[in-house]
């Protein structure tokens, strides 16, 4: 009984309960026939949300006003440039990955430079930088659709023992991030800054260094997600990142991370990412129209957030 209560007091549990419930309802509709297929699809698509969500989680944990709105543009630019460099050749995969990560590094540095040097609030800084990044992507893409190298396409679309490879990659990243958040000095510092930036500074936390590293980390994870997504979907598209703007924030909030900063939660990101994908596929399965789908998605997200926040107050 006590163990059960402990599990229920975890902030991430609601995201998983919601995801499980939606999964069950969807599978019921098809009489259980789609269990494996739906599970694999959910894991695959959730993986991309998880990777960007983990970066956004750190940024949001920095405290009120901190959010990275340049994630979609960063994904697009990283994917576009990487595919261009690789020119569908397997031998260039490593170079392509470096280019993608380099884009993330550059975007992160630029974002924090705007925030720090020009004293622009992070929301405005990352939004305006995302216009520049997106324009660069448009300019370099020029309507070309380059196919990813075959090895990358195989890697991202195939499974190992029934588990999609991208889910394994995302799981590996999650473990690293979990250790970073819960065990490392950097994780402590991020959490301290999010609770009270001034107090953290006076306690000796290198506030600028930590915030800078966080914006870079977020952008690098976004660029990696873009690279994998383009490989998975057979090429980069200019709108490929669009849906991840809201998704990256929603998975953080639903996952149990404090919107006001100072407290982050890694497992919840997985629950929330699975949940968001499954809600859409459930509504699709039941044949809901696009309008109804959007409406219900919104209502369901609000419901989960309310349920989760009420638990935390109690």
């Amino acid at each position: 009984m006590n163990a059960l209560r402990m599990v229920f007091s975890k902030p991430w549990i609601w995201a998983f309960i919601a995801a499980g419930g939606v999964f069950f309802v969807t599978v019921m509709f098809t009489g259980g026939a789609s269990t494996i297929g739906l599970g694999q699809a959910a894991l695959t698509f959730a993986s991309f949300s998880v990777i960007v969500g983990l970066g956004q989680m750190f940024v949001i944990t920095l405290g009120p006003g901190n959010v990275d709105l340049s994630i979609p543009a960063t994904m697009t630019l990283a994917a576009t440039l990487a595919l261009k460099v690789m020119e569908s050749q397997n031998g260039m995969i490593f170079v392509g990955l470096l280019v993608a990560l380099g884009v993330g590094l550059g975007v992160g540095i630029a974002n924090y430079a705007l925030i720090k040097a020009l004293r622009i609030p992070p929301i405005i800084a990352t939004l305006s930088s995302s216009f520049i990044i997106q324009s660069t992507a448009i300019w370099s893409n020029r309507g070309l659709r380059i196919r990813p190298p075959q090895w990358m396409a195989d890697l991202t679309t195939q499974s190992l023992f029934g588990v999609p490879n991208v889910a394994l990659i995302a799981l590996g990243i999650t473990l690293v991030i979990f250790v970073l958040l819960e065990k490392s000095l950097y994780g402590r510092w991020v959490s301290a800054i999010g609770q009270n930036m001034r107090a953290a500074r006076m306690a000796g936390v290198p506030v600028d260094g930590v915030r800078f590293a966080t914006y870079v980390l977020c952008a690098v994870l976004a660029s990696l997600a873009g690279f994998l997504l383009a490989s998975f979907s057979g090429g980069a598209a200019l709108n490929m990142g669009t849906e991840y703007l809201l998704t990256s924030i929603a998975v953080v909030v639903i996952g149990g991370t404090a919107v006001a900063g100072g407290f982050a939660n890694v497992p919840g990101i997985w629950g929330a990412s699975l949940f968001l994908f499954l809600v859409v596929s459930m509504l699709n399965t039941y044949g809901a129209s696009a309008g109804v789908r959007m409406l219900l998605t919104g209502v369901i997200i609000i419901g989960v957030i309310i349920a989760a926040s009420r638990r935390r107050v109690a």
């Binding site: 250790v179 959490s191 609770q195 107090a199 006076m202 306690a203 000796g204 936390v205 290198p206 260094g209």
Partner: protein
């Protein structure tokens, strides 16, 4: 006992209140009559704040009763009810909205100020009261609270409590009202309290400065462990007997020779050219005091010294400066965290191997400091905000002292700390200074300044006097603080 008196403004009878396993009040009877100022003293955690919360309607007693004169039979006592019957309170934790101006804050406590021109009327109300209590205060009532110094905020808070619009103020509770005020402002306030009482008002004053209580109050109530342990006319107490009643012993101030063998210089700050101020210098092993009236540039100097130490981008390998916050909600507490994590944040770099924090070593160090400074908690994993204010402050002390930093800056850190704890901290500072640590200590309390080896007196943002050793005395400091104003 006076508690049965018919005319009491407020009468608490046999009140009991528990928070979980903690018995905050254990059968307290307490009353205040018009024309009376009652001093309420006791250690941190003696139950004073809980009693105040009963009187202001913020809490209901588990058993016993709270009666305000003029209250109808069976009327439910609440915060609004207490206010309607003229009970006001100045809280120790300042309660003004920092994003609003002084006049807007006045409007919040005075719903009667409505309709066109409320700003003007609010300003007149609050400015009039400020003038009455603190003549020559110099506070512009159109400024935001957040832009005021902590002393000015406290002045506004006090003036707000005494100001009247629709209801008459009959009882004002002052919880540590002078903790951020310098001697001059404190004297003005206490003078006003006597005037208010002589005109028929009632005041409850809570303070750790016992001289204040004895000089201002008619009657003193001593609390300990949730009970009233002593209640007498103020004239029958001396500081020694009062401290004895609270259960701790006044230790004689250690007579100290000025540290003649001055160590190497560890910290300097030049006075701005042309300001006519004195340069600041701190040597190894010194206790340097920053004195003067509150808000005359001492905190700005400390923050300047801290920021000059660097560490914005990369945590230095050997920490140079640690800081003990005074305004703990703004500069100190990390409110979501446990006591343990709040205590260890500054020394984490020393406990980190390959980027990961050694939590076992962390817990060991925290346990050691918990014992050394006697943090009152069952479990260091409890949230920091579960501690009383004085204990939170102890944790912030431990945070700074546990580091290897050779210089510790202290921004009036003893606000709301009881006298027993203060003595312990003084002893600890001496001990650390003897080991070669340097302390720069801003304090609004003369006792603390007199603990220092050398004192810089501030006036209008610069250092105007330097006193060392035997020169450090209340008279010298006051005369330096006021020199020009008097001339």
């Amino acid at each position: 006992m006076i508690s049965g008196d018919e005319t009491a403004v407020i009468a608490v009878d046999g009140a009991e209140k528990s928070f979980g396993a903690v018995r905050a009040l254990d059968g307290v009877s307490f009353s205040v009559r018009p024309h009376e100022c009652v001093g309420l003293v006791g250690h941190n955690g003696a139950g004073k704040s809980t009693l105040v919360n009963l009187i202001t309607g913020g809490l209901a007693p588990d058993s016993g009763s709270v009666l305000v004169s003029g209250m109808a039979e069976g009327e439910k006592f609440s915060i609004a009810g207490a206010r309607a019957h003229g009970v006001r309170c100045v809280f120790q934790e300042l309660s003004l909205c920092p994003n609003l101006t002084v006049e807007e804050n006045t409007r919040i406590t005075h719903p009667a100020l409505k309709g066109l021109g409320w700003r003007r009327r609010a300003r007149a109300l609050i400015a009039g009261k400020l003038d009455a209590i603190f003549p020559g205060h110099g506070i512009d009532c159109t400024r935001m609270i957040g832009d005021l110094s902590i002393a000015e905020r406290q002045m506004v808070e006090i003036a707000t409590a005494f100001s009247e619009s629709d209801t008459r103020v009959r009882l004002v509770i002052l919880d540590e009202p002078t903790s951020s005020l310098d001697a001059g402002l404190a004297a003005q306030l206490l003078g006003y309290v006597r005037k208010f009482v002589s005109e028929g008002g009632a005041v409850v004053i809570i303070s750790h400065i016992l001289g204040e209580i004895l000089s201002t109050a008619d009657r003193v109530v001593v609390m300990k462990d949730g009970r009233v342990v002593s209640e007498r006319r103020a004239a029958e107490f001396t500081v020694e007997t009062l401290v004895g009643a609270m259960g701790s012993v006044v230790r004689a101030r250690d007579a100290r020779a000025p540290s003649a063998a001055a160590g190497e210089i560890v910290l300097t700050r030049k006075a701005p050219a042309g300001s006519g101020g004195i340069d600041f210098v701190a040597r190894r092993g010194e206790l340097v005091g920053l004195a003067g009236l509150g808000g005359h540039g001492q905190t700005r100097m400390l923050v300047g010294l801290f920021n000059a130490g660097g560490g914005d981008w990369v945590s230095p390998k050997d920490p140079r400066i640690a800081f003990v916050a005074g305004d703990r909600h703004v500069d100190g507490n990390l409110p979501l965290w446990s006591i343990l994590r709040n205590m260890t944040i500054s020394l984490l770099p020393d406990l980190t191997r390959r980027g990961l924090v050694d939590t076992r070593a962390e817990a060991e160090i925290a346990a050691r400091w918990r014992e050394r400074i006697e943090v009152r908690t069952k479990d260091m994993a409890n949230p920091i905000l579960s501690l009383s204010g004085g204990n939170q402050q102890k944790v912030l002390f431990a945070r700074a002292l546990a580091t290897r930093a050779p210089v510790v800056l202290m921004d009036d850190p003893m606000r709301g700390v009881d006298i027993g704890t203060k003595q312990e901290v003084y002893a600890m500072l001496r001990e650390e200074a003897a080991k070669g640590r340097t302390f720069v200590w801003y304090s609004t309390e003369m006792d603390e300044i007199c603990q220092c080896d050398r004192v810089y007196v501030f006036r209008e943002g610069r250092i105007v006097a330097e006193l060392a050793g035997a020169e450090v005395s209340e008279e010298r400091i006051l005369s330096a603080s006021f020199a020009e104003a008097a001339a």
